[in-house]
Assembly symmetry: D2
Homo-oligomer: 437 residues x 4
Amino acid sequence: MKYMYQKIKELSHSYYYDTVKIRRDLHKYAERGWLETRTACLIATQLEELGYEVLVGEEIMKKEARMGLPPETVLHLNYRRAQKENANPKYLEKVKNGMTAVAGVLKNGEGPTIALRFDIDALGLIEETSQHHYPFQQRFSSCHIGAMHACGHDGHTAIGLTTARILMELKDKLHGTLKIIFQPAEEGVRGAKCICESGFLDDVDYILAAHIMPQEHRKYDLYLGMDDSFATTKLDVTYHGISTHAAESPQFGKNALLSAANCILNLHSIPRNSDGCTRVNVGTVHAGTSRNVVPETAKLEIEVRGVTSELNRYMEIYARDIIKGSALMHDTVVEIEEMGKAYALKCDKSLMDKIRSICEEYMPDLKLSKRDLSPLGGSDDYSYMMERVQSHGGVATYMKFLTPMTSSPHNDSFDFDEKVLEKGPRIFASLVYNIMQ
Amino acid sequence: MKYMYQKIKELSHSYYYDTVKIRRDLHKYAERGWLETRTACLIATQLEELGYEVLVGEEIMKKEARMGLPPETVLHLNYRRAQKENANPKYLEKVKNGMTAVAGVLKNGEGPTIALRFDIDALGLIEETSQHHYPFQQRFSSCHIGAMHACGHDGHTAIGLTTARILMELKDKLHGTLKIIFQPAEEGVRGAKCICESGFLDDVDYILAAHIMPQEHRKYDLYLGMDDSFATTKLDVTYHGISTHAAESPQFGKNALLSAANCILNLHSIPRNSDGCTRVNVGTVHAGTSRNVVPETAKLEIEVRGVTSELNRYMEIYARDIIKGSALMHDTVVEIEEMGKAYALKCDKSLMDKIRSICEEYMPDLKLSKRDLSPLGGSDDYSYMMERVQSHGGVATYMKFLTPMTSSPHNDSFDFDEKVLEKGPRIFASLVYNIMQ
Amino acid sequence: MKYMYQKIKELSHSYYYDTVKIRRDLHKYAERGWLETRTACLIATQLEELGYEVLVGEEIMKKEARMGLPPETVLHLNYRRAQKENANPKYLEKVKNGMTAVAGVLKNGEGPTIALRFDIDALGLIEETSQHHYPFQQRFSSCHIGAMHACGHDGHTAIGLTTARILMELKDKLHGTLKIIFQPAEEGVRGAKCICESGFLDDVDYILAAHIMPQEHRKYDLYLGMDDSFATTKLDVTYHGISTHAAESPQFGKNALLSAANCILNLHSIPRNSDGCTRVNVGTVHAGTSRNVVPETAKLEIEVRGVTSELNRYMEIYARDIIKGSALMHDTVVEIEEMGKAYALKCDKSLMDKIRSICEEYMPDLKLSKRDLSPLGGSDDYSYMMERVQSHGGVATYMKFLTPMTSSPHNDSFDFDEKVLEKGPRIFASLVYNIMQ
Amino acid sequence: MKYMYQKIKELSHSYYYDTVKIRRDLHKYAERGWLETRTACLIATQLEELGYEVLVGEEIMKKEARMGLPPETVLHLNYRRAQKENANPKYLEKVKNGMTAVAGVLKNGEGPTIALRFDIDALGLIEETSQHHYPFQQRFSSCHIGAMHACGHDGHTAIGLTTARILMELKDKLHGTLKIIFQPAEEGVRGAKCICESGFLDDVDYILAAHIMPQEHRKYDLYLGMDDSFATTKLDVTYHGISTHAAESPQFGKNALLSAANCILNLHSIPRNSDGCTRVNVGTVHAGTSRNVVPETAKLEIEVRGVTSELNRYMEIYARDIIKGSALMHDTVVEIEEMGKAYALKCDKSLMDKIRSICEEYMPDLKLSKRDLSPLGGSDDYSYMMERVQSHGGVATYMKFLTPMTSSPHNDSFDFDEKVLEKGPRIFASLVYNIMQ
């Protein structure tokens, strides 16, 4: 049996250059959330070639559960671009208009159902153009101005595809069902929900994912789980009033901006909670058209957070009261759109223990952290999938794969050491093999 | 016919000392709104002695339409005091507990129905105690600490009773119905509504009232009407939340004070109205019990105004939205109680013309103002009665009787020249005689 | 003498087609405030050709007193465009970068100094493109997308140039000094101040201007003056804070948006003023960059108004306290830029009487309004010039020239009956001739 | 040496009934903060009788550093009451007017200086009057209506006096200086500062105190220290504006309530801090005098807190900006008075270790908690004294003495099991003896 883990290690190594190649291609053709059209076609095509049953778009997404979609014109332009960039037409029609989730499924008789999740979207940044920036120097920096893989999802996707490749080679040893999920729109915590609501995870016993993160002093390769994340809800709030000339007849207006100002002030005044940390922010406001006209519309981008899902719920419920009360006050109409949602991460101890023992026994060269958990700090909508799996008795964890980085994520000069692209498929494949053997 | 006006003038003169005596007695036993118990008993007794049909309390008031009542204990203590001060027991039981309106009615066959209105309540002031203050020097200053006739209603009531006395002497010459009304609780514009809602004014063709006002340079004796008043609504608003220890568990509270703070700020931000002047004020706020406890209750005294009844309605509707929206925002419960209401004054031109011609023909010694109207500035709930009479086709006006004063009204050293107590009954009686003859 | 007025009438008539031509040219090459570069060059060239002493740019403007300038890049692009459109290079260098005021001066010995003012800027509208829109149909609609003469300033300028032409023909009959001023940036009340502060009006005895306005039922041709305008101050307010990640370290931010929200709410709560109408509006707000970042900057466009200059000052002083207090509250830095200013109009009765008698005697075919004054409703910074002239004893008025219009001003389908282009020069020239003869 | 600890134990036992008697006397004559006049005289008298050097009032307090004093009339009435209740005149004159701190000092040659601190004030509660309430049943419930020992300070004081008594018996064995401090006005964290600022603690090497707290399941007798307290600042804020009639001339007012409303809302919007918990509360607001008058004055009771002194400072600095900005906004004048202050508790590990070893060796019958620290939850101004002693290199701790209670503290039916009155003096005396021997 040890032999199999050795084989997996060797496959990871021999596929390393292909993995790097995939990563760099994805990096070059970076696509933002719900716009991963070329990306999704490429993933689907590869999974198909590997022999997986391929599910895309509506087959694993509940269309109306998607959050924070770009405008239709942007979706359309994106489709055109993917066409030009030779996206596989077989999948293009299915994934266009923001239906960009892809999964490869392998069923092999009785056994556990295990899901792996990889996120595929890029960020809205203009990538650094300097010879010091390795992707620029090596000519794989983003050719899509305004989209950049600055959070490592290009790496995640490449790891996912090589994991799929390795596992297909071990096919005969695997018993049960394997679902390798490529999720769109993680940035803004928008994409996980629609996959959950499609029911695709409802038979899953184990779900695993990993995020590449900065390695300090080459200390550890791996954390078994994460905590200290924030559950969060992202809301777009638009107050609709009635404009009027501010000097001639102010009384005929309904001032959307007065509603917005109340909303802003009071959101910040939601009482602190002794059960744990909470957060609130109104990140942007755009209101009105002209100095001498009572603003007809005010649009706000809001987020609340809590270190537990309960705390986030406390914030969200209170925030919605404030949002609505502010409308009532000045007789405006308010529209609230949920643009993103994530739960707090709760990694299962039993699963982390299992992974620890697998690693210790079969991958003793990996440097495991002593503590199971490492803080995430922010929010990740993979939590949505974890919660779904856990709610019917499955187990879940979210690992950290550590690798040197040039800067912290979400930075226009971000890059990571590609060595993690060898380590990643090896870990995933080993764990899946252990569970499904 | 001129003879009759001469007779009225002589009667006013010969009753002058009695009128002064009544005024001083009322001044001494000043009673605040809804507490005019001794006052009402005295009025009722005198009207009965004069031969009027006397109606009190529920006979001319709709109990539940009274606004801004004092607490029950205060009403009870007031009853006890009136007992001790020998209020006529026949009427005391009827007027106790804030049922202090009185009317004297005289029916004499066919003819118009004419109503006169006199207000009878004092203000919440502690009267000046100095030899320079005439009522104190002459020993008729208020013996009810905290109540003072500083707006001349003692004079109004005395004028009303002497008018009643004169008109009873002319009884045979009068045709139609005369209703002499003594209204409680004008201060705070609280008392008129309940008389209107009893239906007592629904057959009235003419309604007249007057307010004594400061005379400048002995210029005029009389204005025929008033304008430039504010329609107004007085609201008591109480936010009920849930208290909690502010450090241990702020999240368990519902902060009544946060609702109140929003209410205050936003009431002041109601848009200006190009149709005319509006006003808003939050006069008092009392909230919370202790520094380290989230406030459970916040109580606000609010008023809105507009120079027309429509503008006041605009303010009131908007204010109520704000009041409710502020509750919704912080999940508190709000209680809104209407404590007073007045319309804007609209004096009938036809009635003022009639009065002008009567004065010019039969009382040429009176100095009439050239303009019909003089500004009121504030609010008076006699407007409620005017509106009721006008709504079924009757006519109304609100005169000013001018007389020298020591200070402006609502001042603890207020006093007026009692000569107006001779002029007042003469004018009222002459006008009624002219209309009912 | 009557002969001269007849001659003026005839000249106005014979120059009418030229006037129309100028107006249509200006309409086609509409330029917004501070960008009237081609316009100014055209005016200067014509005045020079007529024989006037021509003053432009710094000769009659105090550079740093200009308010509400566009960004430098816009000024630069505008210069380039004017070059391409063959603006007279002699003047182009002087008027570029927002130095677009022009004046024609005629000095003729002893006598009064009289100024005429014409405003020359267009509005930020995209002109209607429909066959129903006469300028489009006749092919003189704006070729500068986003700039449109929708307030008649093209007509004003054309009237000014024809008035200059007529008066030059009467040169020998005129005694004293004539200053014909073409003012930039009236929209937003930005341009008058810098001309005043240059001192150019400090010897002016009479100043006249007119605005074309909708004529109802062809009733009147002319109002002698205007009132009921609002004094106003336009402020751009920018709060500068410090951004920070809203979840990780909210305490390191300085939230510009919290300052802005307080500013908005409290500006609307400035107390009403019993001396007259006041107004306040926050017309636009733009704040923040991203949902999860504490906003670093918040920019507001604000205006206050009052029906007298004193009331506007009350509002402005109070507003500035609020703007600064809101910064102090959240430790942000605030920048306040004055973008426009106008006083309330006070037309001189003596001048209006003079104009009435001139019109009645020498232009009896003009239909004069019975009342001198007609309400302006909004604000105009010609008030700034009036105040300057009146402050040293001169007299001023602001007439209305009435003509049928297709819509109210500031509308993308605005157009006016060009007949007013004949009437306008006639009136101005007649008045100037009468005063300077 | 063990013998001495045995002796201390026996003395505590034999003085137990006296200790109870003192406690019940203090309970009966409960006095609130700065009003502990009779209490202070009683303490001083007893310390004098025991042989201590007695310091009171200005000898150990910096007068102007006292915070949150009651009004002068209350201080005066309190003096009169203490007179009637036979307070020792020798001390009465020194402690009157809120100079109620007392200390007993014992100097015995070279050695460490050790301070003990006991708080002596009662709370503003009306004590339960029911047979179920032991103090009422035993007739020692408070005879001072509105003052009640509901936080155990009566017990603390009794423990302090008995500790003093025992230690005086061991006088010859003690080397160094002993300062037994009885501190007024702990409730509202007002009294410690003035003692610190007098310099009385500046030579102290060890400072000890204890609070009696509810014992659960008779589990432990003692915690060695406390943490999880809030540093806090209590502020009274008064906005002074200018009143005006709200309808006639709102513009002449300066609305203190508008400043207050902004202050309230914005205090609650101080950003959360990722370094730890913070709190803010506006506990009470009282503003204005009359519905139709713009409020001249608004008074707020405010507190901020943080789990570290730094976090509290962050809150206080921010709060002061908001308080001042709110005044600037509406041109009111603000007065900020510091009514109380406490730091976060930092108990010295070395001292707790020492106490643990003393207890384990010499008082093995005491049930010590396993963890050193137990959370305080609220705030205590003993932290002020700890910080003072620690700032010059001394060590400090704040123990919990656990005993069964009928309810949580600050409750009108609060009572505690008096057995703690035997344990308390024993522990204090043993620790002092160990250190000073």
